[in-house]
């Protein structure tokens, strides 16, 4: 039964076994990447390259921005075995609030903190109900859907669509990071891409070394090198394409900041541990001294704050707040999380994978829009992809 007995018995055979085990162990993660690649290739061909054009890829990033922010928050909520259905209308409502504040002459540097603070307050209200009063999150946030939909209508009642004229605000979703080098190519973007690729590789290599030192089985070296080559080349290609157009959109920078900070919290801090512990076994977590109610409360606060940020990004992208903004955002956010590998039973999930999940959903949307697919079919297609991803996830987990 000990670790050694399984090892020797034909070097080649065991190496093959290792490869197979590694592939099987991460089958759903690979499936997600493969899905993304397939979507890109098929869309690229079907749109005769239009999908892969620098302009469209830039659009894709801008579209993915607000969904990604929502999905990152949603991932944490789903890990602790709750759900937040209200995020769409919270985003819509807070987007309208920001538009309203801007048109009333508030400066942008005041508007954004105010909106985020109100978002956190909304989260505090829902988090209180869930964590202290023990109203199921499904019910609490379903009620939230009603409430914030109503408030959104109220805010936009007099004016209908509110047009935003503030340039800085519009730049959040439509602007690009500044060009600091001369030339037709946006070199700063490419340099950032290069730096990202280098940092990613360094982090992964270090993590792998620590893992193997800790004694857990790591994927075979060959597979790892292949993965790294793939990741870095994708990042570099994307950076190259973007730098040939107008550079890196601010949205991407904002999403990256959100992603990195939430990822840091989840993977490195005690709070993150608490989140995974609660998701894995709330009773054990409580008896281990984790204040489950407090953590739940904070997670809901964060979620609604991210929803506000998403609302700001969305409003900025359209340069206006509409009475129907936020409709169905929660579906995209939840689907992204699950496609990104959050376990339906909680306790498992990575925000980095959620980002890929969001890209899967949004590149589908984008490509179907380009192809002029009717919105009704779009919903059906997304629903099918969603359910296939979750079913596949459950199957692959059961096998492991």
């Amino acid at each position: 039964m000990n670790a050694q007995t399984a090892a020797p018995r034909g070097e080649a055979r065991s190496r093959l076994d290792g490869l197979r085990a590694a592939l099987r162990g991460n089958v759903r993660e690979y499936a997600m990447y493969i899905a993304l690649v397939v979507i890109f290739v098929v869309s690229g061909v079907a749109t005769k390259g239009l999908f892969l054009s620098p302009r469209n890829l830039t659009d894709l990033i801008k579209q993915t921005g607000y969904v990604a922010v929502l999905a990152i928050g949603m991932t944490v909520v789903l890990i602790i075995r709750h759900i937040d259905l209200s995020v769409g209308y919270v985003a819509g409502f807070m987007g309208a609030m920001s538009a309203k504040l801007l048109t009333n002459g508030f400066p942008i540097y005041a508007v954004i903190p105010i909106v985020l603070a109100i978002g956190a307050a909304i989260g505090a209200y829902q988090g209180f109900l869930v964590s202290r009063v023990h109203v199921p999150a499904f019910v609490t946030t379903l009620a939230g859907m009603f409430i914030f939909r109503g408030l959104l209508s109220l805010v936009t009642a007099g004016t209908g669509t509110i047009i935003v004229r503030d340039e800085a605000f519009r730049a959040l979703s439509n602007g690009f990071i500044p060009q600091i080098f001369e030339g037709s190519r946006h070199w700063l973007t490419f340099i950032i891409g290069l730096a990202c690729a280098a940092v990613l590789a360094a982090v992964k290599i270090r993590a792998r070394r620590n893992e193997s030192r800790a004694g857990s089985s790591v994927s075979p070296a060959l597979l790892f090198i292949f993965q790294m080559a793939l990741f870095t080349s994708v990042i570099l290609t994307a950076a190259w394409i973007l730098s040939g157009y107008r550079g890196l959109p601010w949205t991407a920078a904002i999403v990256a900041a959100v992603l990195l900070s939430v990822n840091f919290v989840l993977t490195q801090t005690r709070f993150g541990r608490s989140v995974y512990a609660i998701g894995g076994n709330p009773e054990a977590a409580e008896l281990s001294g984790i204040d489950v109610a407090k953590v739940t409360f904070i997670v809901f606060c964060g979620m609604s704050m991210f929803a506000s940020l998403a609302g700001v990004l969305y409003t900025s992208r359209l340069s206006s707040a509409t009475p129907t903004a936020g409709l169905g955002f929660e579906m995209d956010a939840i689907a992204s999380s699950y496609i990104g590998g959050v376990a339906v039973s909680g306790g498992v999930g990575k925000v980095t994978n959620t980002l890929v999940g969001a890209l899967v959903i949004m590149s589908l949307t984008n490509s179907m829009n380009l192809l002029g697919v009717d919105i009704s079919y779009q919903y059906v297609v997304k629903g099918v992809i969603f359910i296939v991803a979750v079913a596949f996830d459950i199957l692959s987990r059961r096998r492991a």
Binding site: S217, T269, Y276, N281, E286
Partner: protein, 517 residues
Amino acid sequence: MRSEAYLLEMKDIVKTFPGVRALDHVSFRVRQGEIHCLVGENGAGKSTLMKVLSGVYPHGAYEGEIVYKGREAVFRGIADSEKAGIAVIYQELAQFPELTVCENLFIGHEIMKGNGARIDWPASLRRAEELLLRVRLRVDPSVKIKRLGVGKRQLIEIAKALSKNVGLLVLDEPTAALNDDDSANLLNLLRELKLQGVTCVLISHKLREVLSLADTVTILRDGAVVRSLDARAGKLAQRDIIRHMVGRAIDDIYPKRNKSVPGEVCLSLKGWTVYDPATEREILHQVSLSVRRGEIVGLAGLMGAGRTELALSLFGNTPAYKITSGELEVKGKTARFTHPKQAIRMGLAYVTEDRKRNGLVLIQDIRFNITLAALRDLVKGLAVDRQAELRAANEYKEAVGIRAPSVRQLVGNLSGGNQQKTSLSKWLFARPDILILDEPTRGIDVGAKFEIYQLMNRLVEQGMSILMISSELLEILGMSDRVYVMAEGRIVGETPACDATEQIVMAMATNAQEASA
């Protein structure tokens, strides 16, 4: 004709998991009509072998051959093995607490009315009564399962197996969660079933019961059969089994410690009265007890005496239990915890009785679980210092002897005993002053038990105080300095362990129960 017919032959079974060879060419044979006990250390592969047999690991997921009733058996799932007449009762009972005894008995193969569309309840109830009679259980078949204790549930599970005309009954540590009375009851039933021709494989860490029951004892170690011994002649001694199991002799299962004079009182309860909102009953009445520094205090009693509730309520699990009156003093300071984190901060630790339900995060690894209760100590700046964490986890894995390829192994993949050790390590890592142990050696093999007892002795010698809840009287008597006996939510007796015997303690526990009934 051979003189001895084998009902079951498992030949050269090999089963591997990533990084672990759980079974390494195991051959295991069971004679028709015998009680065959399977023993071995935690992680030796006992449960895995039975899972291979029952089709949990389907044909093709392992190497080797299974011959059942003279024919090669190919089980693609549990349903196949059940159809062949093999019933496996796992330690974690798969029951539906909200359903009645009768419904649980026939779930999946209900008795139907003539046309086959509706359940025939009167017939089911009659049949249920018959089955309950066969396992000598006197309960109303229409009562909900959740109202019954573990012992009775275990019997119901056997009744369920009998209803399917079982030929081979496999029980994986059935008595681990039972007190001595319920265990004796169950073992008697197995003897009776044997007379009725039921063949039985029993996995157990309780060697006394193994010796009293077994016709054959097979000892597994590190995934291989060490020996198959005939136990019928009555020559087999416990120490022989232990020697084969752990590879060395253990003379005194309860190691001696240098009894120093216990120090000052560091945990004291006075008039502790607790109300349970869920059942709307007062569950603890005026409980008073004290634990001194450097002392092991045993808390004995029957299942349902309120010992776990006592531990949980003083540990701060307050939404579940409401303390209506009473006083708790920890290290001289009055305390009333409203959350376990406060109790932990005051130096308390509570190792739960049910590791799967509220002790461990099964989908996380050993390291995650060991450091969970004291992660605070490993934080550097904002982040957890993961190198230090790894070192700590490895250190405790070694110290407590958790058998796993690495601390990154998922706890859900560990054998039962190793899970228990992980749960214990978590609380040792929190370096408590007062350690409350609730059934600390449930499902743990003799060797590891001995190690845990030694560890307990070391800890109290260093000044820790231990309050140990256990249903194993010998353990309580062997390890404690002082013993409290609880029954029906009350302390009904207190005695120094050196004066106590099994009879005295049992008498206290049961007399009180009868008096109040």
